[in-house]
């Protein structure tokens, strides 16, 4: 198996372990065993546990960076100006659903710097949306809740029709921001 495919397999098994066992109970040797690979080979690929988390977090962090850049430039003139932002955010999270589950649902995972960076990016987006819509406490609550609606969809609606979920949730998030 080529190295990229091997890393992909380790990442896939790692995400399954993280979601089912939790961050605190997930170890590289456990991942190696579940992937039917020698632990030394897994360590050679990703380093230690935090190296693995950084590897898993990288693509989502990059995607969130793009969304943040768009948010920094947004001028709120109504639903149309906010919709692409929320869509971009939701698409980024849906593409990394299992990792997002760990980031948002596993308190123990917050000790990981990589997870911390993802959480900070999410908080930064909420702050930017709050600033764009008024920057009072209630704007901040609304911005966090608008993203919370997206989080709920990503965490709890995986079994539903993706297009329907996306349409309804984006409408709902925009409605929260403009309340």
């Amino acid at each position: 198996m080529d190295p990229d495919a091997l890393v992909g397999r380790v990442a896939d098994v790692a995400l399954s372990c993280l979601v089912t066992k939790g961050y605190a109970a997930t170890t590289l040797d456990g991942i190696a065993e579940a992937a039917c690979l020698p632990e030394a080979e897994v360590r050679a690929l990703v380093g230690d546990e935090e190296g693995l988390m950084a590897h898993l977090a990288g693509p989502l962090l990059a995607a969130l960076g793009d969304v943040l850049a768009s948010a920094a430039a947004v001028e709120v003139r109504g639903p149309a100006s906010l919709r692409p932002l929320i869509e971009g955010y939701m698409d980024a999270l849906v593409a990394h659903r299992r990792l997002v589950t760990v980031v948002l649902s596993d308190r123990a995972a917050t000790t990981s710097p990589a997870v911390g960076a993802l959480r900070r990016a999410m908080l930064d987006l909420a702050e930017q949306l709050a600033r764009a819509t008024g920057d009072r406490v209630d704007n901040r609550i609304r911005a966090a809740s608008a993203l919370g609606a997206v989080h709920t969809a990503v965490l709890e609606m995986a079994d539903l029709d993706a297009a329907t979920v996306r349409g309804v949730i984006v409408d709902a998030s925009v409605a929260i921001l403009l309340t």
């Binding site: 308190r107 993203l147 919370g148």
Partner: protein, 192 residues
């Protein structure tokens, strides 16, 4: 596991000691995570021995029960008071308001129940999940997928308001969260 009422019967002094342990554990569990907080840390935070903690709570489970049971009972009462049959629009708003008020009264417990995998998988967490599912079913009955999605999003959005802002802005959260939840339910043109 024992309920709060079934642990050592407290004298006045013991009640204060129990409350101090519960307060310290609530704070540590919600900041560090339930699984990652040994009772030794709770004891250290209070400057007492682990044995002193065990004198009041026979197991870590009992301490968790003491922390989350008041909110779970409040939600049981809330659900028990709902009349049979479909809710009116006013009934839905009232259910939302009372759910928000219950969560906002205990933001750290809300964090534990909704953001701690160890608690979510615990029987007490599963009891909360069942209550939450019942509330969602009452808010968004029927077979329309969009209504079900909207209801789940409304509940998730208000819960996040409590989780992120409940401790620092306890006065603003209930009213703002209610407005948020209603905005979500109305976002498809339905009347909340």
């Amino acid at each position: 596991m024992t309920d709060l009422a079934h642990t050592h019967a407290p004298s006045g002094e013991l009640s204060v000691a129990r409350l101090r342990i519960v307060d310290a554990a609530r704070s540590l569990f919600s900041s560090r995570g339930y699984e990652r907080t040994p009772l030794r840390l709770v004891a250290d935070a209070l400057g007492i021995t682990k044995a002193a903690v065990y004198h009041h709570f026979r197991a870590k489970d009992d301490l968790l029960a003491a922390i989350v049971t008041p909110l779970l009972r409040r939600l049981d009462d809330l659900l028990a008071a709902i009349p049979a049959g479909p809710l009116t629009d006013a009934g839905r708003r009232d259910l939302l308001r009372r759910y928000i008020e219950a969560l906002a009264s205990a933001p750290e417990v809300t964090v534990l129940l909704l953001r701690d995998l160890g608690v979510a998988q615990h029987p007490l967490g599963l009891r909360f999940a069942a209550q939450r599912e019942r509330i969602r079913a009452l808010l968004g009955p029927g077979d329309d997928p969009a209504t079900a999605i909207r209801t789940t999003a409304a509940v998730g959005a208000l819960e996040l308001a409590v989780i992120e802002f409940g401790r620092d802005h306890p006065e603003e959260v209930p009213e703002t969260a209610l407005g948020i939840a209603i905005a979500v339910l109305d976002s498809g043109g339905a009347v909340a």
